[in-house]
């Protein structure tokens, strides 16, 4: 990946002025990623358009669709609200009170992001079958996604000038009124942005709901696919889902582009005075402990429990063999590496265009790539199945097609980090290096790479993690006979063979947690990871 970065910078000499037109080759390379993202949307719409209007109306306005819509939207609303409350409360306690062991809690509160939601789902389902309803789904997605609120809100609290709160106090407001009148309004962009991300993730979640037997659009599309293959029914449902997702995505983008309560002025930042918890100390600590048990303890605990049980102890007995385990792990890691490589290859030209050149076309390409965040994995997979079955038969169920699906799904994730990394090495620095006598190779090697290299590595690593824990596209597109860790967990849990699923779940969680931990340690930014995880849910 790092070598690729150098290649790309070679294409555009660093002395390029901002107004200069980008090289055609670079533009074409950037366009590939954007077009790939559009592909599943176009295929789905084309497929849906084949249904004539009356039939479409009949298919869309049936009670089932109404029920799915109610289920999905009610869950989105409830889990978003629950995540907002839990996430904001946790952020405030950690950033603004004298909570003991704050640093440790801050890490524990972010950890659930590195546990795939369908593993959390597996854990709860194997604990009690009673959780297979709305409340169970709410519990699982809230515990999986509340860090998406916690992280931006905590960052906003850290970035907020403490003088604002103090001024409010000096003007006669108590701590609680100050929070409502001053702190909360400042948190609004972070909070709303986080809530939209949670909503988007719940909309596209498949694995967790499938294991919980909670019916949403994604699970229904999968069911339709299983019965009617890639028929028009599935495409119509997928169109509705895409519309919902894109609505949330645009709302989020608008929010980010719009009002931003930055600090007015700049200067030394003082840390805020922490509110004493006083008598609330013990209840708050108990709350954090309960949160940790529910979001980390149960998933890890249940995996550990089933690991120690013989296969026969589960509802449907099944056993795991070492060769199976090794095979699935190798497959997962291999796909992870291949997915990361292709995704980075697509993201680099786009990132380079976006940071080094201006122009309408570039903006369009970049925004198109980000659209992938609003296209659920199930839709991408279904579209690629449709396309290959009808037009590109040899690619159907090939490993290459699966890797392309990963690249489509995780292009936005990679692009965010690649962009941030390339911005690190600004053109001014490159020009300074040129003026000091370095050629473009020297600039790439001694300036761009040291500055952007770590960020690019982080981007690749995040895609790798996301691919390893991806379920939906893998399930639909993996070549026959290919078993990955994710598909194995899913298959065994679907048949209630919890003990058999445990080793795969354990390996997957270890890889995800370990890689995330390394990333966070290396870059000290759980936030970067969080930015990524928002697209990994499928």
């Amino acid at each position: 990946m790092i070598a690729a970065a150098a290649d790309v910078s070679a294409e555009a000499p660093p002395v390029a002025s901002r107004r200069r037109r980008p090289p055609v080759g670079l533009l074409a390379a950037g366009a590939v990623g954007a077009l790939l993202v559009l592909l599943p949307i176009v295929v789905t719409l084309a497929q849906a358009a084949q249904v004539d209007l009356q039939e479409a109306a009949a298919l869309l306005f049936r009670p089932l669709v109404g029920r799915l819509l109610r289920n999905t939207l009610a869950l989105v609303a409830a889990s978003t609200l629950a995540s907002a409350i839990v996430g904001t409360a946790a952020a405030w306690c950690i950033e603004r009170t004298d909570l003991p062991a704050r640093r440790r809690w801050a890490v524990l509160v972010a950890v659930p992001l590195a546990i795939p939601p369908f593993i959390t789902s597996y854990a709860w389902v194997s604990l009690s079958a009673d959780l297979q309803d709305f409340m169970g789904a709410l519990l699982v997605v809230t515990s999986a996604y509340y860090p998406l609120i916690y992280l931006p809100v905590a960052a906003a609290l850290r970035g907020m000038d403490p003088a604002l709160e103090e001024t409010a106090r000096s003007l006669g407001n108590g701590p609680w009124t100050s929070f409502l009148r001053v702190v909360l309004p400042q948190l609004r962009p972070a909070l709303l942005g986080g809530m939209l991300l949670v909503a988007l993730n719940v909309l596209v979640e498949f694995g967790a709901f499938s294991l919980l037997r909670f019916r949403t659009f994604t699970t229904e599309i999968y069911a339709e696919y299983r019965t009617g293959f890639a028929g028009p029914d599935a495409s119509l449902l997928a169109t509705v889902l895409i519309a919902l997702c894109l609505a949330f995505l645009f709302a989020e983008a608008r929010l980010r582009g719009g009002a931003r309560y930055a600090r007015i002025g700049s200067g030394t930042r003082r840390t805020a005075t922490r509110h004493p918890l006083g008598g609330a100390r013990i209840p708050v600590l108990l709350g954090f402990a309960a949160l940790t048990v529910a979001t980390i303890g149960v998933p890890l605990g249940m995996i550990a429990f089933w690991l120690t049980q013989p296969g026969a102890a589960a509802v449907s007995p099944a056993d795991v063999s070492i060769p199976l385990l090794v095979g699935a792990t190798t497959a997962s890691l291999g796909y992870g590496a291949a997915g990361a490589a292709l995704t980075m290859l697509l993201a680099l030209p786009l990132g380079f265009l976006a940071t080094r050149y201006d122009g309408r076309l570039i903006a369009v390409l970049e925004r198109t790539a980000y659209l992938a965040q609003g296209v659920p994995g199930i839709v991408v997979a279904l579209a690629l199945v449709t396309l290959t079955v009808h037009a590109l038969q040899p690619l159907y169920q090939s490993a290459a097609l699966l890797v392309v699906a990963y690249a489509i799904l995780f292009l936005p994730l990679a692009l965010v980090s690649v962009r941030a990394a390339l911005v690190q090495s600004q053109r001014g620095l490159e020009e300074a290096a040129r003026s000091l006598g370095l050629g473009w190779t020297g600039v790439a090697w001694r300036v761009v790479l040291p500055l952007a290299g770590p960020g690019l590595g982080a981007a690749a690593a995040m895609v790798f993690i996301s691919v390893v824990i991806e379920l939906t596209a893998t399930l639909l597109l993996a070549p026959i006979g290919t078993k990955t860790l994710a598909t194995q967990v899913w298959a065994d849990t679907s048949t209630l063979a919890f003990a058999a699923a445990a080793p795969y779940a354990a390996l997957m969680t270890v890889i995800s947690l370990g890689a995330t931990w390394l990333l966070a340690r290396r870059f000290g930014a759980l936030r970067t990871v969080a930015a990524g995880v928002k697209v990994q849910a499928t």
């Binding site: 000038d161 003088a163 604002l164 103090e166 001024t167 409010a168 106090r169 000096s170 003007l171 006669g172 407001n173 108590g174 100050s178 009148r181 001053v182 309004p185 400042q186 609004r188 309560y261 930055a262 600090r263 007015i264 002025g265 700049s266 200067g267 030394t268 005075t273």
Partner: protein, 369 residues
């Protein structure tokens, strides 16, 4: 109108003492500048007054009411002390008018009570009321912050380095507007600053804080002319310090026999001469000195001199008006205007005179002809 009384105020952070027994009394309606280098504890003093921190010991009273003391801690929102933060801390989600009425009861907030009056008080046009804070310049933000602090009619206003983030041109205007508004409102004010000229020009009184202790509380003139020790003299402004021997009303040093201010010690002393007290002349009386170099500032120039004659080399700094034309290498006569101040000599006198670094020095080589 409120007077302030601080007794034995002590505060440590993590075992490191920041304030060590500060006593300060401020008369009602006065503006007192608290001057100190960074880390001297001045901001801590302000935060204790406003109630954001609790003192370890000592008491704070305003208008006879105990705010902090043994077993007493009035929370910030019930102190009725206005607070203007370093960069104003205007609420970014509220308009100028909503910022100003923020601390008023709900009914008065709705009625935009006194917004126009307060804007006028701080010297801003009325149509600013509807603007969002980020459209204001730094100086305007500070004025709105002051208007907001004054709106609930506090008896005491605290200003935490309110001008430090402004550029030089804005600073003097904003200082003047703030001083006028505070005087018009009749509020007692404490202004924390690390800027000597700001403290001297704005404060009715200046309290100098050094390592958590108040070393001198005096009028600006007294502070500048008769600082309590040599270190303070150097902190308050440029100072030339020379060893000397003091007798009755006179002191003898490298600059000759000089008149001494009343009440000065006798014997071995350090003599304080301000650079602007030195008069340079090509002819006339005084001590001979050679011009080492000259730094031109426009309104005045700083001249580094080295005293001719035997013994160890003595360096001086003089301030002369911008029109004077002395050249490096030239010999001039140095005379002293007015009385000088002396301190008992305990430690060796610093070898070179201390001065603040000029923003830009265009040095002329000493040996150029």
């Amino acid at each position: 109108m409120t007077d302030v009384r601080i007794d034995g105020l002590t505060k440590a952070f993590g075992g490191r003492p920041v304030l060590r027994g500060v006593d300060l009394a401020v008369e009602s309606g006065r503006l007192v500048a608290i001057l100190g280098a960074s880390g001297s504890g001045k901001t801590t003093l302000l935060r204790l007054l406003s109630g954001f921190e609790r003192p370890d010991a000592g008491t704070i009273r305003t208008g006879g009411r105990m705010l902090s003391g043994p077993g007493v801690h009035v929370p910030p929102e019930r102190r009725q002390i206005g607070y203007v933060a370093q960069e104003g801390a205007l609420f970014p989600h509220l308009s100028v008018a909503d910022n100003i009425v923020f601390g008023l009861p709900r009914r008065e907030r709705r009625a935009r009570h006194r917004v126009a009056e307060l804007l006028e008080l701080v010297g801003l046009p009325r149509f600013y009321a509807g603007r969002p804070p980020h459209e204001l310049s730094g100086g305007e933000q500070q004025r709105v912050a002051l208007a907001r602090a004054l709106a609930p009619n506090p008896g005491l206003v605290l200003l935490d380095e309110p001008f430090s983030s402004l550029d030089a041109a804005l600073r003097s205007d904003t200082r003047a507007a703030v001083a006028t508004a505070l005087a018009a409102a009749g509020a007692t004010a404490l202004l924390v600053t690390h800027d000597q000229s700001e403290a001297l020009s704005m404060g009715h009184q200046v309290a100098v804080l050094r390592e958590g202790r108040l070393v001198q509380v005096a009028s600006p003139e007294t502070l500048y002319r008769r600082p309590v020790d040599a270190a303070l003299a150097q902190f308050i402004g440029e100072a030339v310090l020379l060893p000397g021997v003091a007798g009755a009303g006179r002191v003898t040093c490298a600059l000759g026999d000089l008149p001494l201010a009343p009440g000065m010690p006798r014997g071995a002393v350090e003599v304080l001469v301000r650079p602007e007290q030195l008069r340079l002349d090509r002819a006339g009386t005084g001590v001979r000195a050679r011009v080492c170099d000259l730094t031109f500032y426009g309104h005045d120039s700083q001249v580094r001199l080295s005293l001719a004659g035997g013994g160890p080399a003595v360096e001086l700094i003089a301030r002369v008006h911008g029109q004077s034309e002395f050249r490096p290498g030239e010999t001039v006569m140095v005379a002293v205007d007015g009385e000088v101040v002396a301190y008992p000599r305990t430690a060796p006198v610093p070898a070179a005179p201390q001065s603040r670094q000029p923003a830009l020095v265009i040095a002329t080589p000493e040996h150029s002809r």
